[in-house]
């Protein structure tokens, strides 16, 4: 049910970003970019604790009038950002978590592919299909 899904690499450049086409893509790109600051903040806040103890799911990063932004960071500092529509309030925390879980697992699959060089943009069809499934649900 996301309107935008983004995967950002450790160095904070996007590996994959996709929005529901009807929306203004640039706006989402910008949103994701600004949300990175919030992610950093949250990550550093918990940074004192050992990485193991750090929770991967960051939760709601910040809400705007139109949508909410959720974040998730992996142990390798790869960030997933999901933007959902505010009007879609039926989304529960669980669902967001499960969405991140799916993202993470399919991202792992992409990583496992020996033909994928870390740092490349993600062009895997299966990853695309999983993301589409997530986005189609909502809209």
């Amino acid at each position: 049910m996301a309107v935008c899904v983004a995967v950002i690499a450790k160095e904070n450049y996007p590996l994959y970003i996709r929005s529901v086409p009807t929306q203004n893509e640039l706006k989402f790109h910008y949103t994701v970019h600004t949300s990175l600051d919030v992610v950093e903040e949250k990550v550093s806040a918990v940074g004192k604790a050992l990485p193991d103890q750090r929770e991967l799911y960051l939760g709601l990063l910040y809400p705007t009038e139109d949508y909410k932004v959720y974040g998730y960071v992996t142990n390798s500092k790869v960030k997933f950002v999901i933007v959902v529509d505010s009007s879609n309030t039926s989304l529960r925390d669980n669902e967001i978590r499960s969405m991140f879980r799916k993202l993470h697992s399919s991202f792992t699959d992409v990583m496992c592919n020996p033909f994928y060089n870390p740092g490349d943009t993600i062009q895997s069809k299966s990853f695309d299909s999983i993301v589409s499934a997530m986005m189609v649900q909502s809209s």
């Binding site: 799911y57 992996t74 142990n75 669980n94 978590r97 879980r101 033909f115």
Partner: protein
């Protein structure tokens, strides 16, 4: 005639055809008869044939000159490709497959004759149609293969080639089938540009039967690419191998080539069956390849090794990546023999022009064919390894995965638990924490000691309520009301008071299940308002806290005392939309009610009302709860209004109305709160009754088994939605009210100015 540009391949092909038709050996003109036969053999309708002849100018000339013939052939190719016949497209269409002509022979025969030189094979054909050059290599291959494969009796090529060919044994049909296919344009693979076939063919050229003279001329392989690259030997390696050289090329090259051919053949054959089936020869070949990388057939090929291997095939990385995704069934980053075979097969197919499937085909799924290590792999669609072969998968998963795995179940459980335990979702807005606690307590108590907690509250409530009531006048009530949606702090106290009253009334009369002061069940949703009912009391001074919450809360308290206040100012505008019908009536009275507010401390009324329609309110409240958000303001208004007048007046009506409203599943007191919003809209009077209803509802809630949780969830979802709309409407209301206020102020100022100016006007 239109000038025609032909590619080399086409040139050769056409010249061959021309020669074929040039029965009289004039080198200039092809006999009409032959040409027409040929055209008919192209499996085009007569109309098309006529059109073609016309277009190429033969009708004009009366005969088929070379150029006409060529043009005609090109048009045939166009027609066979389904493109419209246009003279312009002769030169514009790129990558047009060569025209195909059907041979009368049936496949079976051809299969068995594949071994023989082309000429021989063609013998059986009704007509000898020059093979498209591109096919030549394939043909050679086929002959090659046919030779080798046990199938046909044709004397095997020099044994040197046998090792290579062995894999080709794959369907002996392939060679023949090949030809046939090509002729008949059957199987999608046939359409592949001849170039593709060229790749591996060269090596086999030498094996070509002597009779293949005609084809020999076409031997120059259109394309040298292909497998050959597997061995890292540049395509050139194939060339030398090509001709005369003995078949002794490096085994790898051979194998590669043979693999290619095998694949071609396979491809051909597969046109009839499952295109993804791996033949035994192919499989054997793959296994051999596997051994070169990993001697242990039950072991894995690590990803990096596989990457190198498949990179040799010169497919684009993206496609290789896709192939990997498809074939690495257990997603462990390594290939078992089956996975490797599948991957290899896909590569072969891709090289031969098949498009990669989206999902791994059935026949390629790791199965127990040769080895048992794939046994554990389920045949379900490729999925993340969690469910698939557990042994193989988990250990190999990326490091983060295990931790993830651990985390998730925990998360799930935790969420599940919380979800299950409480009918009310424990979504909490910050200010709702209290509410949730209340909720928990309440729900718990509902089932256990419904009344006890409630009873404890009323006294507090009453006092607080009074405070709140008193406060109202003090605070800018008007503000609060004006922004029914704005949930100013003013409203909070009001709402809180209201809620308290409600709960109060609810509890006192009923003493039932607990609905106890409907401390807004932590129905977190945006509409915090409800949940904070009890908190409101505490937040009195806080004020600023979720105004909405308070509004919502206000709605609940049956007393709805604050009602009058809110309605006073903004009432007419703001509340109407939100509150619906009930408000207008109250608004008018609101000013009067203001002073009466303190009256709502009079809980006796509530009790009365509460008793009246316990059930109704409970139900309706639940619905109202859903609407919470928008209702907040309304709730506040109502609360004020209701406290005195409303209660008395329409409680009955309201309650009844409410009762009729869909009874949200007992869940939660939150429902009640939500309902209050709903109620706010439809009717104002409900409040007093709400309180009574609430207890009833709670009672029902308690009675309803948790099993209805699911329904609750659905209802909750709908409640949320309603809340959303409520909030939106509430916002709208507040905005409108704000505007109204502004306008009024302007008006007042203007009037004042007017007054001032009036005396002057007389002057």
């Amino acid at each position: 005639m239109e000038s025609l540009t032909l590619s080399d391949v086409e040139q050769k092909y056409y010249s061959d055809l021309f020669v074929y038709c040039d029965v009289d050996n004039t080198k200039k003109v092809a006999s009409n008869g032959k040409v027409l036969d040929l055209f008919r053999a192209a499996q085009l309708s007569n109309d098309v044939v006529l059109q073609i002849t016309e277009l190429c100018g033969a009708t004009r000339l009366g005969h088929f000159g070379r150029s006409q013939f060529y043009i005609a052939l090109k048009l045939i190719a166009l027609a066979q490709s389904g493109l419209p016949l246009r003279v312009e497209s002769l030169n514009s269409v790129k990558d047009l497959p060569l025209p195909r002509f059907v041979v009368g022979k049936n496949e079976q025969e051809s299969r068995h004759t594949a071994m023989y030189p082309d000429t021989e094979n063609q013998g059986p054909y009704s007509s000898v149609i020059p093979r498209p050059p591109g096919r030549v290599p394939a043909k050679k291959l086929s002959t090659h293969e046919v030779i080798q494969p046990c199938v046909s009796a044709v004397e095997p090529q020099p044994d040197t080639t046998s090792p290579v060919v062995s894999p080709h044994q794959s369907p002996p049909t392939s060679p023949h089938a090949w030809r046939k296919h090509k002729r008949q344009a059957s199987g999608g693979a046939v359409d592949r540009p001849p170039a593709v076939a060229g790749a591996a063919w060269p090596p086999f050229r030498e094996a070509q039967p002597a009779g293949d003279g005609m084809w020999a001329s076409h031997s120059p392989p259109p394309v040298q690419e292909s497998w050959v690259s597997f061995t890292d030997t540049p395509p050139s390696s194939t060339l030398p191998a090509v001709h005369p050289s003995s078949a002794q090329e490096s085994t790898t090259v051979r194998t590669v080539a043979s693999a290619a051919t095998t694949n071609e053949i396979q491809r051909q054959a597969s046109g009839y069956e499952d295109p993804w089936k791996i033949t035994d020869e192919q499989r054997q070949y793959y296994i051999n390849q596997f051994k070169t990388i990993q001697p242990d057939l039950t072991g894995f090929i690590p990803g990096s090794a596989a990457k190198e291997f498949f990179t040799k095939s010169k497919l684009p990385i993206l496609e290789l990546s896709h192939i990997w995704e498809l074939s690495d069934f257990d997603k462990d980053g390594a290939l078992t023999l089956d996975e490797f075979c599948a991957a290899f097969h896909l590569v072969v197919a891709r090289k031969n022009g098949y498009d990669l499937p989206e999902k791994l085909p059935e026949s390629l799924m790791p199965k127990l064919i040769d080895l048992d290590d794939s046994a554990g792999v389920p045949e379900s669609a490729p999925e993340v390894g969690f469910s698939s072969s557990p042994v193989e998968v988990t250990p190999n998963k990326s490091p983060s995965m295990p931790s993830l795995n651990q985390n998730w179940p925990e998360l799930n459980q935790s969420n599940e638990d919380t979800a299950i335990v409480h009918p009310v979702p424990i979504r909490m807005t910050p200010s709702k924490i209290h509410m949730q606690e209340m909720e928990l307590k309440r729900t718990a108590s509902d089932h256990t000691h419904p009344t006890s907690p409630l009873m404890a509250k009323p006294p507090e409530l009453s006092e607080e309520k009074k405070l709140a009531a008193i406060k109202f006048p003090g605070s800018t009530v008007g503000d609060g009301y004006s922004s029914s949606d704005s949930f100013t702090s003013d409203q909070e106290p009001i709402s809180s008071a209201v809620t308290r009253q409600r709960s109060h009334s609810g509890t006192s009369p009923e003493g039932l299940k607990a609905v106890a002061p409907p401390p807004p069940p932590p129905r977190p949703h945006a509409s915090h308002s409800r949940s904070s009912s009890l908190d409101m009391n505490r937040n009195f001074t806080a004020v600023a806290a979720g105004t909405q919450q308070q509004a919502g809360v206000v709605a609940f308290p049956p007393a709805v005392p604050p009602r009058p206040l809110p309605t006073q100012t903004s009432v007419p505008h703001g509340h109407r939309p939100v509150d619906g019908d009930g408000l207008p009536a109250h608004s008018s009275t609101s000013p009067q009610q203001m002073p009466e507010q303190p009256n709502f401390a009079d809980f006796s009324q509530f009790q009365v009302f509460a008793v009246e329609q316990p059930v109704d309110d409970g139900d309706t409240q639940q619905d109202g709860g859903q609407v919470e958000k928008g209702v907040d303001a309304a709730g506040a208004v109502r609360a004020t209004k209701n406290d005195t007048q409303a209660e008395e007046r329409t409680p009955a009506t309201v309650n009844s109305a409410k009762g009729s409203t869909p009874l949200a599943p007992p869940p939660k007191p939150v429902r009640r709160r939500l309902k209050s919003e709903d109620e706010l809209r439809p009717d104002v009077e409900d409040h007093p009754q709400k309180s009574s209803v609430v207890p009833g509802v709670l009672a029902t809630q308690a009675s309803i088994p948790r099993s209805i949780g699911k329904d609750k969830k659905a209802i909750q979802a709908s409640i949320r939605r309603n809340k959303e709309t409520n909030t939106v409407l509430a916002r709208l209301n507040s905005e409108l009210q704000q505007q109204l206020k502004d306008l009024l102020e302007e008006r007042i100022s203007l009037e004042v100015q007017l007054e001032q100016l009036r005396p002057f006007s007389h002057l």
